[in-house]
Symmetry: C2
Subunit: 151 residues, 2 copies
């Protein structure tokens, strides 16, 4: 098993055998690649994630999103405002203080482009993961996430 340090052979990398370390490193690289794909669409990864969720859950509320995506409601505010400013998101009063969110026609269009970008991104990821391993990897990540949340 080769160490991933290439340019300075005299250096040792004690982090290299650690799963947690490679999880962080890989996530940074993979997320940056997704950001590059989204850049022409004018939105970042967080906004795109929100848009995808919204497209599948028209009329949901901000707290629905917070629960599903495990995001702090406070952190969703700037994302929602950005999407509203772009004219892709529509707000309607719901019960109580709730506001229901849905996509405008422009929103549906952007949603389609974002979906396509995510699909391209996932298929690029798929090139590094044997197809028959994909579900196993997915299950493993979910398991790891659950366990890390309750240590």
């Amino acid at each position: 098993m080769s160490n991933s340090l290439s340019p300075s052979p005299e250096l040792v990398d004690p982090l290299d055998p650690l799963i947690g370390y490679h999880l962080r490193r890989t996530t940074v690289a993979v997320t940056a690649a997704l950001a590059d794909l989204l850049q022409p669409l004018g939105i970042n990864v967080g906004e795109a994630t929100l848009l995808l969720f919204l497209g599948a859950n028209q009329g949901c509320t901000q707290s629905d999103i917070g629960r599903a995506l495990r995001a702090q409601p406070a952190n969703l505010v700037p994302l929602i405002n950005k999407l509203a400013l772009l004219g892709v998101l529509d707000k309607q009063p719901g019960k109580g203080r709730a506001i229901t969110l849905s996509l405008t026609v422009d929103g549906e269009r952007l949603h389609a482009s974002v979906s396509e970008a995510f699909e391209r991104h996932e298929s690029r990821i798929g090139r590094s993961i044997p197809a028959e391993r994909r579900d196993e990897v997915l299950a493993l990540l979910r398991q790891l996430c659950r366990d890390a949340c309750h240590p």
Copy 2:
């Protein structure tokens, strides 16, 4: 394959089948768990990572670290200053403008505690990953990271 949404069954999560999404989510959870383990030691994940690397590469320079850990030299400055302020890191002039970094006696002590924390963390991760899959997962993450860097 069950969706990881539990509380609101009427909601759909279109992100759930995506590897990239679970990579991000899991990394956040796993890194937060490591931060909790390090908190009693008074350092964060970045500082601890630097300390581990330093312990294995006494006398290396800041640019060595930047290359090995793929960190921007500018971002290492506050970490190095923090460790120097704690009295765990020693700076000596090197060739050119370079400064060689090494651990003090206190640094070696902290290094031992940090190593132990990382080991506990990795073994907790190991509980979610079958032992016979560990190397495969590691290889997969490295591959994914490499491919994401050159899309």
